[in-house]
């Protein structure tokens, strides 16, 4: 199985007529079994179509046209309009929102997240590339065009969670080359506040029988790794986790942000060194290089099954 999405998932693309969104739509339609993109929304563009996907002015119109609830939405509208688009999706019954847009102020993200919580919906992102279930479905630009995504991702037992979209593919490709497929890979976004953190996705992977191990990509900034370490310890997780930490050099440069908006060392707990220590305490192996990850994963899976 997979987490979050599977071959039955229906979704819409908000901002579908934008250049990136047009490409993303094509990629998702082409990948795996072909995503069920049941509509697109761009205000004022009712009646058009993008690669055969009908365009609507409102999410409500898309839901009505579909004739029933829609599972998800990929939001690609500009930052100033993102919050409104996400609220619209959730208010119309959508339970899974992938926000691709970057440079959204925290206040807006926090409002969307709070609204989602009230409506029992989940947000992935912002500033992320989405979710992929190898050979089945992808929701978002993750992995790129279908044929490129097929090269990097293969079905298997490793769950991947990454703060960097590009590194989600790099790590999955490394796993694939070593014969380790992925159950689901999620690009969670690199901002300071995101809809779903490592710890919030762990219960889903924990419940997914196909998943036997987790690989995460992480960076300095924020307290998300500490939250994960705490979750793992408190929940006695069955899943071995292998982490890769990039941006170690940033420890020497407090106050500066590289890579993603969320990477800024403001306090001691934000540093790479501190995070590595926290993860290690919780039994999470931190690989020095990405190429070491597959072997560590294999040996950790073997250890667990030997117990």
């Amino acid at each position: 199985m997979s987490i979050l999405i599977d071959e039955t998932t229906t979704f819409i693309v908000q901002g579908i007529t934008g250049r990136e969104a047009v490409n993303l739509t094509r990629e998702c339609l082409d990948y795996g079994a072909g995503a069920q993109i049941v509509g697109g929304v761009t205000p004022g563009r009712l009646g058009r179509d993008v690669h055969g996907v009908p365009v609507f002015d409102t999410v409500a119109q898309a839901v009505e046209h579909h004739g029933g609830p829609i599972d998800g939405s990929v939001v690609t509208v500009p930052p100033a309009f993102t919050k409104d688009a996400v609220l619209e999706a959730i208010a119309n019954g959508i339970k899974l929102v992938v926000i691709v847009t970057e440079r959204i102020p925290r206040r807006d993200v926090a409002q969307m997240v709070e609204f989602a919580k009230q409506h029992d919906a989940r947000i992935i992102g912002p500033n992320c590339l989405g979710i992929i279930v190898p050979d089945v479905i992808k929701m978002g630009g993750i992995g790129g065009p279908a044929k490129d995504a097929a090269k990097a991702y293969t079905p298997g037992s490793v769950g991947v969670i990454s703060r960097s979209g590009g590194m989600t593919t790099e790590m999955s490709s490394t796993l694939t080359a070593a014969g380790l497929g992925q159950s689901t890979a999620v690009s969670i976004g690199g901002d300071a506040i995101i809809g779903s953190s490592y710890a919030e996705l762990m219960p889903l992977f924990e419940a997914d029988e196909q998943t036997e191990a987790i690989v995460i990509y992480t960076e300095p900034g924020g307290r998300m790794e500490a939250e994960l370490a705490k979750w793992v310890t408190e929940n006695d997780s069955r899943l071995p986790i292998v982490a890769f930490m990039a941006g170690r050099f940033m420890d020497e440069m407090p106050g500066m942000s590289f890579g993603h908006a969320g990477t800024i060392v403001e306090g001691k707990a934000d540093t790479a060194a501190e995070k590595i220590a926290r993860l290690a305490e919780a039994g999470i192996v931190v690989a020095e290089e990405i190429s070491q990850i597959p072997d560590i994963v294999k040996s950790r899976i073997a250890e667990r099954s030997a117990v």
Binding site: P79, A80, R103, I104, P105, R106, R107, V109, A110, Q111, V113, E114, F115, G141, G143, G144, P145, D148, A149, A152, R163, S164, G165, G166, M167, T169, E170, S173, T174, A177, G190, A192, I193, S197, Y217, E219, G222, R223, M224, E227, F244, A246, G247, R248, F249, M250, M253, P254, G255, M256, F258, G259, H260, A261, G262, T263, G267, E289, I290, S291
Partner: protein, 403 residues
């Protein structure tokens, strides 16, 4: 983006929070005038965007306007952590009965802002939180509705503050919380918040940090404070090399060549994207390499942009070779970046095979890209060579040069 203390005070005051009588001065003469107006002993505080000014001697006391002018002259000429002050704040020396702390920050885990209040003001709040956790009150609040006074009251009362101190501090913390939300702050703190002998509270120092992403919609505030668009207010000022990087990025709207940052090594880096750059920069250092710069290319840059960035890096004094590396790309095109970096070498009269230590960008259009690299004799590799291995090869080559 960070605000100077004198700006933070203005923001706090505009939100209805009382502040001690003060003025901002750029010259000793202005400092004297402000001291005359205050007509009481004053404190002269350096206005720099860095911590530790107290330790560095950037805070001085003066009893008379003449003394104020003298001290201001000293502080205006005092460099602190590499920053020259923009001016001085001339603040009245208030009769403080007790120092408190009031602050609002984001909690990325709860995804809500949190109000903080302590009766141990005047020192670093993180320290207080560690040594005296019971003396720091906390309260998360919703972002969907405006924070109510009672929420602030609960936080303050939780550490045992009562009486008129409680009723007077409540609106101050609540207003701070509201301005935090209204102005997209990432940090808003008053430290110390002084309780005076007469029972009033005044903000004696304030520190505000606003989210860069919100600059667009906070124009009204920024204009009122006189903060121009050109002021980045980053932790460290951009060097000419970094400004040139920004120009390369701005030359067209295709793709990004962002976050160009200067270091003093000999290996120039044309790397991407966000996470890939962080990984590669670490990898070069882990193998003993000395990067000349950091950067992030991505989002499918034009040939001209890749070329411009590579040229900039190649021309940086001390750069012997460049390494062109990215994590697997799906949007950015391998062939376009290959064209750009080779063109940069050619236009500067260099042999690409000699100047480009390694080219490791796998992904979209790689076959076409590899044809170009092959023609110019540049060493390249596909995804079977890891990012760390590519970095190692680049470092090895350049160390051969140095020897």
């Amino acid at each position: 983006m960070r605000f100077f203390e004198y700006e933070s005070r203005q923001i706090v005051k505009a939100a209805g929070i009382p502040v001690s009588a003060h003025g901002f001065a750029r010259t000793p003469e202005e400092a004297r005038r402000i001291a005359e107006e205050i007509a009481a002993p004053v404190v002269i505080k350096s206005q720099v965007l860095t911590g530790g000014r107290m330790k560095a001697g950037g805070v001085r006391f003066a009893d008379t306007p003449e003394e104020a002018a003298r001290e201001a002259e000293f502080v205006l000429g005092l460099e602190i952590n590499g920053h020259m002050p923009r001016g001085v704040l001339v603040d009245s020396k208030v009769a403080v009965k007790q120092e408190f702390y009031a602050g609002v920050v984001w909690d990325g885990i709860r995804k809500q802002p949190v109000m903080l209040f302590s009766d141990m003001g005047g020192i670093d709040i993180e320290e207080v939180a560690e040594t005296h956790p019971d003396r720091v009150g906390r309260g998360h609040f919703s972002n969907l509705t405006e924070v109510s006074d009672y929420e602030a009251k609960q936080v303050i009362a939780s550490i045992g503050v009562t009486g008129s101190a409680l009723t007077r501090a409540t609106p101050i913390l609540a207003r701070l919380a509201r301005l935090f939300v209204r102005h997209d702050m990432t940090l808003a703190e008053i430290n110390p918040l002084a309780l005076l002998e007469d029972g009033r509270f005044v903000a004696v120092d304030a520190h505000m940090d606003m989210e860069n992403e919100a600059r667009g919609r906070q124009q009204t505030l920024l204009k009122a404070l006189g903060v121009g668009d050109e002021e980045t207010r980053q932790a460290r000022e951009a060097t000419p090399f970094e400004l040139a990087g920004e120009e390369v990025d701005a030359q067209d709207h295709r793709g990004v060549a962002g976050n160009v940052t200067e270091f003093d090594g000999n290996l120039g880096l044309v790397i991407g994207a966000g996470g890939g750059s962080l990984t590669l920069f670490d990898a070069v250092r882990a193998h003993g390499g000395k990067p000349a710069n950091y950067c992030e290319i991505g989002g499918n840059p034009s040939v001209a942009k890749a070329c411009g960035l590579a040229k900039l890096v190649l021309q940086k004094p001390g750069v012997e070779k460049i390494a062109v590396m990215m994590s697997i790309v799906s949007n950015t095109r391998v062939d376009i970046v290959a064209r750009g970096v080779i063109k940069a070498c050619l236009e500067l009269g260099y042999d690409p095979a000699e100047k480009i230590a390694i080219f490791r960008i796998p992904g979209a259009w790689e076959d076409e890209g590899f044809k170009i690299l092959k023609k110019y004799g540049v060493e390249y590799c596909d995804r079977s060579v890891s990012m760390h291995e590519a970095a190692r090869r680049a470092v090895e080559k350049i160390q051969g040069v140095a020897a």
